[in-house]
C-alpha cells in the first residue's frame, strides 16, 4: 500500500466550484474558464502515489497549482473533489477531530517563508506541535533540544526567531516539523527563500537527514535543479495538471511534452544523466580462448581497431588491439592472454556524466561500464558523452 495516494483531486476557486466540472469535461482550458465563469481552476484532476520513505517532488512554475496541491494533503485547503488516502485512510472524509489528530501525529509542514511564531523562543517554537498535543513540559523540552541539535542549532534554544538568519530560521522550521515525529513531511518551497549557497547546504543536509530518518517527503519547488537533486520521483505540474511523473532521469531524457522539454532544456544534464543512460552495447566482444585469428576477423567485420575480451558471465578481462592480434597470429601463437591490455578506463553505471568527462578526455579507449562484480554492461564512446551533454540521444 502506498503511504500517500492522491486520486483525481480537483480544486476550483470561486462561488460555485462544482458548476465548473462540465466545462472541464468538455476540455476547456483554465484561461477560458476564468474568462467565462470567473472561477479559477487550481488543481485539475491530479493523481499520484507516494511510497513510504520516498522523496516525491512536485515541480512547477508559480501559478501551476503546486502549493494548492500540497495544502490539499493536510486540508489547509479543502479540495473540491477527489480522494487523499494516507495509510489507506481518506483524509477528506475525516471528521474535524480525526483531521486534527492526523495533523498532530502523521504529518508536519515546512513553509517557504519559515512561518515561525515570532513571539516564541526557538525552543518553544519547536515544542509547539507537542504542546498542542498536551505533551508534558519536561518531555517536550527534551525532544525539542534533541531535534534542534540534529539540525545544528544547539545553543540557540533561547533566541528569538528574528535574531536568526534565514537559513537558521528554516532549520528551526524543519526542527519544528520533526519534533512531532511525523511520518510525512510536507515541504512547501522550503528552501526557495534562501541564498543559493545556504540553499545548497540545506539540500545536502536534508538528504543526509533523510538517509537516517526515511520519512515520506512531499517537496514542492519551482527549481528544477533542486527537484532533480532531492527527488526520488518528480511530478511536473502545469495549469493545475500533472503533466509528467517520473524519476529525474526519465524527466530529463524522455520529457512527456514540449512543456516539460522546455523546462528541462537548461538543466546541467551532466550532473543527472548517468553512465547507464548513455552507454551502448560494444560492437564486438570475444572470449579469450577464441584466439587471435577470431579476434582479427571480428574486428575487421565490425570495422574497429580494438576488441573487448570477457570471461565467464561477461566478466571484463580487458581489451586487445588489432596490431597485437595480427602480430600474435603471424607468430602462430594461440593464447591471447599476453596481449590483453588490462589498464582500461571503467566506471559504475550510476556515475554521473560530469565525472566521466575528465576520463573521456584523457583516454583513447571507450569507457567500459561494469557493475560491482566487474561484469561488463556496456561501453561509452566519446561521441555519446558529448551528445549526452547537448541532450540529443541516439
Amino acid at each position: 500500500m502506498p503511504k500517500i495516494e492522491v486520486k483525481n483531486i480537483y480544486k476550483i476557486f470561486g462561488s460555485r466550484p462544482k458548476s465548473i466540472f462540465p466545462h472541464l469535461e468538455k476540455g476547456m482550458s483554465k484561461d477560458e474558464i476564468l474568462e467565462k465563469t470567473g472561477h479559477t481552476v487550481g488543481i485539475n484532476s491530479a493523481s499520484f502515489q507516494v511510497e513510504e520513505g520516498e522523496t516525491f517532488v512536485i515541480m512547477g512554475l508559480s501559478g501551476s497549482g503546486k502549493s494548492t496541491l500540497i495544502r490539499c494533503l493536510n486540508r489547509l485547503i479543502e479540495p473540491t473533489a477527489g480522494e487523499v488516502l494516507i495509510d489507506g485512510e481518506n483524509i477528506l472524509e475525516a471528521s474535524h477531530q480525526e483531521l486534527l489528530r492526523m495533523r498532530q501525529k502523521k504529518m508536519a509542514m515546512v513553509f517557504q517563508r519559515f512561518a515561525l511564531f515570532p513571539h516564541r523562543t526557538i525552543v518553544t517554537n519547536v515544542e509547539y506541535g507537542l504542546e498542542i498535543q498536551g505533551v508534558e513540559d519536561q518531555i517536550r523540552r527534551e525532544k525539542a533540544y534533541e531535534v534542534l541539535e540534529m539540525v545544528g542549532l544547539k545553543g540557540y534554544e533561547e533566541s528569538m526567531p528574528d535574531q536568526l538568519s534565514g537559513g537558521m530560521q528554516q532549520r528551526v522550521g524543519l526542527a519544528r516539523a520533526l519534533a512531532t515525529d511525523p511520518d510525512v513531511l510536507l515541504m512547501d518551497e522550503a528552501f526557495s527563500a534562501l541564498d543559493p549557497l545556504i540553499k545548497k547546504e540545506m539540500q545536502d543536509e536534508l538528504l543526509e537527514l533523510q538517509a537516517k530518518m526515511h520519512k515520506t517527503i512531499i517537496f514542492i519547488t519551482h527549481d528544477l535543479d533542486e527537484a532533480l537533486k532531492l527527488g526520488d520521483r518528480i511530478a511536473v505540474m502545469k495549469d493545475g495538471k500533472i503533466v509528467q511523473i517520473g524519476t529525474p532521469e526519465e524527466i530529463l531524457t524522455d520529457p512527456a511534452n514540449a512543456y516539460v522539454k522546455e523546462f528541462v532544456q537548461d538543466v546541467d544534464r551532466t550532473k543527472i544523466i548517468t553512465a547507464a543512460t548513455i552507454m551502448r552495447k560494444p560492437d564486438a566482444v570475444m572470449a579469450p580462448k577464441e584466439g587471435p585469428r577470431v579476434a582479427v576477423r571480428k574486428m575487421e567485420e565490425a570495422g574497429i581497431s580494438s576488441i573487448y575480451v570477457t570471461g565467464k558471465d561477461k566478466y571484463l578481462k580487458g581489451l586487445v588491439r588489432i596490431e597485437d592480434a595480427v602480430r600474435l597470429a603471424k607468430e602462430g601463437k594461440d593464447n591471447l592472454e599476453e596481449v590483453i591490455i588490462k589498464d582500461i578506463p571503467t566506471t559504475a553505471p550510476d556515475t554521473p556524466m560530469v565525472d566521466l568527462l575528465p576520463v573521456a578526455a584523457t583516454t583513447s579507449y571507450p569507457i567500459v561500464v561494469v557493475d560491482e562484480d566487474n561484469k561488463m554492461l556496456g561501453i561509452i564512446v566519446r561521441v555519446s558523452v558529448i551528445s549526452g551533454i547537448i541532450g540529443r540521444g541516439d
Binding site: L76, K105, Q112, R113
Partner: protein, 275 residues
C-alpha cells in the same frame, strides 16, 4: 423639492425604548452608578500625596523614570491648582467607561476577525459610532439615564469602543497567513490557534487600541460634563460659561496632564509586551 425627516422616526424609537425598557435602563443605571461611585470613593479615600506616589511608582514600573517624574510633578501641579478631587472623579469615570468599552470591544473585535460576515456588519456600525458628532450621543443617553455620571459613562462607552474593536480585528487579521497555516498544520484547535498564536502576535496592536480607547474616553468624559457628569469637564464648562479664563485654563491643563500620563503608561504597556 421634497422633505424627508428621519429625526421623528428616531424620536419615536427612543420614546418607545424609554417607555418599554425603563426597568432595564434603571438596572443598568444602578449598576453603573455603584461602580463609578465605588471607584471614586477609592480614589478619593486615600490622601492625594500618597495616591500620587502610588501613581508615580506604577508609572515607573511600566513606563520608566521619565514618565514617573512627569506623573509626580503633573499631579502635584493639579493638587496645587486645587483640582485634585475633580481630576480623580474624571479618572474614575474614564476607568469605568474604558473598562466597559474594552470588555465589550475586544471580544467583538476577535469575533469580527474570525468571521467575515460579522466584520461586514460591524464595520459600518463602527463608522457610524465614530463619525457621529460626540454631542449627539448625549441626547439619547440623557433620555434613557437622566442627567449625571451614568449617561456620561454610557455615551463615553459608545464613543470610545470603536478603536478597541477595530484594532483587535486588525491585529488578528494581520497575523501572517503562513503563521496561521503553520499553527493549523500542527493540528491546533481554533481555540489554541487564537490563544497561543493570534492573540499574542496581535497584542501590540490590541494594546494600541486600548490606548486609543482610553484617550477617546477621556475626551468624551470631559464633554459629558454638559449633561452633568462632573469632574474636570464641569470646571472647563464653568470657565466657558462664566468667562473665568484662569479656571478654564487650569482645568484644561489638568485634562492635558491626565491625558499624557494615561497615554504614556498605556503606550509603554504595548511596547514592553511586544518585545
Amino acid at each position: 423639492m421634497f422633505t424627508l425627516h428621519i429625526g421623528p422616526a428616531f424620536e419615536a424609537l427612543i420614546d418607545w425604548l424609554t417607555d418599554n425598557f425603563s426597568g432595564v435602563f434603571d438596572l443598568i443605571r444602578k449598576v453603573l452608578m455603584s461602580g463609578i461611585t465605588g471607584l471614586e470613593d477609592i480614589l478619593l479615600f486615600l490622601p492625594s500625596l500618597i495616591l500620587i506616589v502610588i501613581f508615580a511608582l506604577v508609572a515607573w514600573k511600566i513606563a520608566g523614570r521619565g514618565v514617573a517624574a512627569f506623573t509626580l510633578l503633573g499631579f502635584l501641579l493639579i493638587v496645587g491648582m486645587e483640582l485634585w478631587p475633580q481630576t480623580m472623579k474624571t479618572l474614575a469615570l474614564v476607568m469605568a467607561s474604558a473598562l466597559i468599552a474594552l470588555v465589550i470591544g475586544i471580544p467583538l473585535g476577535i469575533w469580527a476577525a474570525r468571521n467575515d460576515m460579522v466584520e461586514k456588519f460591524v464595520r459600518p456600525v463602527l463608522d457610524f459610532m465614530q463619525t457621529m458628532p460626540a454631542f449627539v450621543y448625549l441626547i439619547p443617553a440623557v433620555l434613557f439615564f437622566k442627567l449625571g455620571k451614568v449617561p456620561g459613562a454610557v455615551a463615553t462607552v459608545i464613543f470610545s469602543m470603536p478603536p478597541a474593536v477595530r484594532l483587535t480585528n486588525l491585529g488578528i487579521r494581520q497575523v501572517p497567513e503562513d503563521v496561521v497555516e503553520a499553527a493549523k498544520s500542527f493540528g491546533s484547535t481554533p481555540r489554541q490557534l487564537l490563544y497561543k498564536v493570534q492573540l499574542p502576535i496581535a497584542t501590540p496592536t490590541i494594546l494600541a487600541g486600548v490606548n486609543q480607547t482610553i484617550m477617546l474616553a477621556l475626551s468624551m468624559v470631559v464633554i459629558s460634563a454638559m449633561i452633568g457628569a462632573g469632574g474636570l469637564g464641569s470646571e472647563v464648562l464653568k470657565g466657558i460659561t462664566q468667562l473665568k479664563i484662569g479656571l478654564g485654563f487650569e482645568s484644561g491643563i489638568a485634562v492635558v496632564i491626565l491625558a499624557m500620563i494615561l497615554d504614556r503608561i498605556t503606550q509603554a504597556l504595548g511596547g514592553t509586551k511586544s518585545k
